[in-house]
Symmetry: C2
Subunit: 224 residues, 2 copies
Amino acid sequence: MAQRTRADALSRERIVEAAVELLDADGERGLTFRTLTERLATGPGAIYWHVPNKGELLAAATASVIGDALTVAATGSPWEEIRALALGLFDAVERHPWLSPQLAVQLSHSPWGSVTPRIFESIGRRVSALGVPEATWFTATSALAHYVFGAAGQNAANARALQVGGADRAEFLRDAANAWEELDPAEFRFLKAIAGQVREHDDREQFLTGIDLILTGIAAQERP
Amino acid sequence: MAQRTRADALSRERIVEAAVELLDADGERGLTFRTLTERLATGPGAIYWHVPNKGELLAAATASVIGDALTVAATGSPWEEIRALALGLFDAVERHPWLSPQLAVQLSHSPWGSVTPRIFESIGRRVSALGVPEATWFTATSALAHYVFGAAGQNAANARALQVGGADRAEFLRDAANAWEELDPAEFRFLKAIAGQVREHDDREQFLTGIDLILTGIAAQERP
DNA sequence: ACCTGAACACCGTTCAAGT
DNA sequence: ACCTGAACACCGTTCAAGT
């Protein structure tokens, strides 16, 4: 085939966009240089001209999706904005479940790359507007950020299990709760005790309650 | 070579043990069936007789390491035991940085496999002993567990960056803080503001302060 | 400057064959 | 029952060659 016309020219953005689509459709195993070259009707060499390697491609896909989630309408109290921001990230991980392992991988390759600072900045600005002592800002922001990723990761895992299993949420929780009620009480008496709560809880609501919990702790903290 | 003698016979445990050693030494890319067969002086077929595939091997390695971290001496108030438990997990991820992406992967493949329930049980028992209303147990335990993994993951990332870069901690934080002070204030005024705190903070101490923050929020929560 | 496509090294997994 | 080791399909990456 001859050189591409201007209209279908490759670019880093088009490649990243296609990568996100493949990841959304089939998870991390859905993105290979074979599937990518097929979708973009090109060869591997063309992609390598725009992107140095697969790791960078995954990093760019992650940054792109997280960046969208961080643009939150700034209307409300800092407390409310933190809730909105956290919920935006939570939902982004639910829409793109591959984000969960991927964020951990990105972090472990370059902890302060491009994603973490932007998330810290977004959350931290609102924390600093809460009126708590400046000496607590960093720790408070860290606590919120860590909680958000932990919770979002677990939820993405549940979402994927639902998708694979083909069951609906209520059914999934009912089965899990029933299984827990059968557990050996010597080893798992706590899980048995809360099986009922698991059956009835709502993930997003519980997630936000966790945010409120941490914000309450932050507000209650004395000058260290 | 003839069949192995009883002394050097393969077993699932020996394979998992070797896998953990390879992972500790070189991260996830250090564990391949080639390196594993070489270390165990055998062929791939032998390993596949004991372990169904690489995913299960990684899951077993994860469960093994997490299991060790969960066996905590039960002496102290519930609050203190939760701190000890959390710190044990935090340190385990620091010693085995591959745990961080791996936990996310395990979670997304089977969210309530074997690792998550055991962690929930360990934390939850102490939460239920705090004296807070039973209706809050599940949410409180979730918040703690999610925070622990998020924080441990970020810390593992930092630890690995240190290992790769060859720098020491103080130098690493100084460089990061200096870089943040140079950032564009329009985009990153919060990061600039806390650069000083970043330079001076201690990871483990900050992690425990986060635990206290959440526990304070839990204790302050009213009956929902 | 941008793209093509064959080729390479490496990986997880299988399986017929041995003891 | 347990292990061997060659073979297979697939993957990320390179690179000489084209326009």
